[in-house]
Amino acid sequence: MSEFTSPGEVADALKRVNYLPDERISQVVFLAERLDKPVLVEGPAGVGKTELAKALAEIHGRRLIRLQCYEGLDESKALYEWNYRKQLLRLQADEGADWSTVEDDIFGESFLLERPLLEALRSPEPVVLLIDEVDRVEIETEALLLEVLADFQASIPELGTVRAVSRPLVVLTSNNTRDLSDALKRRCLFLHIGYPEVDREREILLTRVPELPQQLAEQIAGVVRHIRAQPLRKSPSVSESIDWARTLLALGIEEVNEGVTTDTLHVLLKYQADIDKVAADLLGPR
């Protein structure tokens, strides 16, 4: 695994895998690796939070293990579960066997189902662990993560404490739909990713849509900034501006003007009220 000696190197490596970080992102990633701490990434949808974890896995050549959170996620889905059907079969296979030998047997490795957290801890080579949308789990389930995040270990009653064989790089993402517990936040470095500046957005567009002309990318970034400055129910995200760039390319449009923008607004905006408002603003002054 490559060790970075400066945030600049992190930035260069990320750029090589087509992820354009800003100064804040590369600085925090660098720090996270130095301090061996998880990173909690927060920000609006579609600004590249999950992408960051994927890019990190790529630059380190590590495997990405992803735990997608949802309401109702519990230990048996996140950490481990005993394969009880297999256990039943094992018991039925030799009935009459001595209990103590069977007990040792059925709580052994071959009956254990690894879930993402345990998998990340027990992986012989270091991995990147992505805990996606952590704000969706209940507060009680958060507690499950604390031990993993702070000490990189997990306790399983039948097996004892499982320590990480290699230190995983942990990235948590949150859409900020609820406040995470202080205990969780305290264990992480916090990284807020907002909408990019115009110049960075243009670069992102050019990286993601290589056949896009420079001129058009500049205009798209400008229009998107203008739209984001307005109070909308949902501002266009980076992934939506990329979609828009692709749409314009597919339509063979070389220059953005009011007409083109209003006709294709539905790619950028997802609420009719927002579309009406922006269209009125663009066509308004005349």
Binding site: V28, D179, E258
Partner: protein, 471 residues
């Protein structure tokens, strides 16, 4: 360095950002990995360790700028003309300096854009125009205003646009956006420079005290400047979302419903018919009926807007929300807030279309209560919680406290939210004392934090109340 850091951490706590011991230690550890000369790297590193809430970043930045303000790069690079204008002290010095070449240079640098040149100009104009006098405890904002107004900052966009021959439509809009962004970055350079000089003059702690930025939850709703109101509006949706999530969580833990026999028996099949895992029905969530009665006269209008906005953002938590606006007459405004409708349009429509003025446009609570009972009396039922927002300043008119008592007798609860500090109630023309006996609760609500706490209590009170009755 550690001394500065501890001072910085305690300043953050002063502002209200919760920084735990562990986080402070993390920050100290982080510093070792950051080249101290790189100010932005330091800023991002400290922010990652100390701030865990995106809404707190602005306050963090304000404090950071003071504590880690740039040391004078080349001290007094603006040395030659500066002493002249600072020396005469009266602040009239700028008149003698010819500003035109500086402004022309500024316009040139802005349209290039040449950020190094802008930086130099910022340093120069602060020396020339701010007229910072040593030892005067004035906040940085005053100096910023002084510099910008003398530079004629309002005219800058027009001058920049004039260089382009007739761009129109979209192109024009985008160009204007770009220039606005550049001017803003110039302003922040000027702000930086002013701050640097203030810190050099008065020391970190003193400057931090005057430039401290309140967390958005703690800004006084009634006297908030425009910029803060815009910031508050941006947080109200996420705030409502989080509040709803928290309520759902609290309700889930309130009490389980009755035993669900069907589910329990079905579940027992996997344990060979043994009823080992009892299942419960989800309790029905009781949602209160809300009648909002908002004073929208000038003095408390902002507060009323926020209350309405939050209640509507939370409307999924209530079975029905009806809103009435009043000044000295009352009118129903429920229909103005359909889902997806822009809130500002609705507020605009209230003042245009609703007949909230009955006589002279000064608050008259007594008359309003009379009209409410007379025209909209059927809106209030035993399931209704009535929320009244207003300062209770009745302009020395009859309070008609008995009408509110009548409403309170019918309604399940009457809450009064008052944006004035509690110690001012019942002074002057405030008639809170007449209404107080009829109210289930009186709340001083001056900040978003207090408003949020009230709404949470309201929704929870309803849930606990009805379950108690059912049992």
């Amino acid at each position: 360095m550690i001394t500065i850091l501890t001072g910085f951490v305690s300043e953050l706590r002063q502002v209200g950002i919760p920084v735990s011991m562990v986080e402070a230690i993390d920050a100290a550890g982080a510093i070792e990995h950051v080249p101290l000369a790189d100010r932005e790297a330091l800023r991002h590193s400290l922010a990652a360790c100390l701030v865990k809430n995106a809404h707190h970043l602005e306050a963090f930045d304000a404090a950071f700028d003071v504590f880690f303000s740039r040391q004078p790069p080349v001290d007094d690079s603006s040395g030659e003309p500066a002493p002249a204008s600072e020396g005469d002290g009266g602040g009239t010095g700028a008149g003698e300096v010819d500003l035109e070449p500086i402004i022309a240079g500024l316009v040139g640098a802005l349209s290039a854009p040449d950020y190094a040149a802008l930086q130099a100009i910022a340093r120069q104009v602060v020396g020339l125009l701010a007229g910072i006098q040593p030892g005067r405890p004035v906040g940085g904002r005053y100096y910023l205003y002084r510099v910008l107004s003398r530079l004629g900052a309002e005219a800058l966009p027009a001058r920049l646009m004039a260089a382009h021959e007739e761009p129109e439509g979209l192109e024009r809009t985008l160009l204007a956006d770009e220039y606005r962004a550049r001017i803003e970055s110039f302003e922040s350079m000027v702000r930086d420079e002013i701050r640097r000089r203030l810190v050099a003059d008065r020391g970190r702690e003193a400057v931090a005290r005057t430039t401290r930025q309140l967390l958005i939850e703690d800004v006084d709703l009634a006297h908030a400047p425009r910029a803060d109101i815009a910031r508050m509006e941006r947080v109200i949706q996420p705030l409502a979302r989080k509040l709803a999530a928290r309520l759902a969580h609290r309700r889930r833990h309130l009490r389980k419903g009755r035993l669900d026999i069907r589910k329990t028996v079905r579940r027992s099949l996997s344990t060979g018919g043994l009823l080992a895992d009892p299942q419960f029905k989800a309790p029905r969530v009781a949602k209160p009926d809300i009648v909002l009665l908002c004073d929208i006269s000038g003095s408390v209008a902002t507060f009323a807007h926020f209350t309405m906005q939050l209640m509507y953002a939370m409307s999924s938590q209530f079975s029905r929300v009806r809103a009435f606006a009043f000044i000295d007459g009352v009118d129903e405004v429920t229909g103005f807030f359909a889902p997806g409708v822009d809130f500002h349009d609705s507020i605009g429509r209230i003042s245009r279309e609703a007949s909230v003025v009955h006589f002279d446009g000064h608050s008259d609570y007594g008359n309003v209560l009379g009209q409410l009972v007379e025209r909209h009396g059927q809106a209030i039922t035993p399931r209704t919680s009535v929320i009244i927002t207003g300062d209770g300043r009745n302009n020395y008119r009859p309070a008609n406290g008995d009408l509110l008592a009548g409403i309170a007798a019918t309604a399940r609860a009457v809450y009064w939210l008052n944006p004035e500090p509690a110690r001012f109630w019942d002074t002057g023309d405030s008639v809170m004392r007449e209404y107080a006996p009829s109210c289930t609760g009186l709340f001083e609500v001056r900040t978003l934090r207090q408003l949020e706490a009230f709404v949470e209590e309201l929704a929870m009170a309803a849930a606990t109340h009805t379950t108690a009755v059912k049992v």
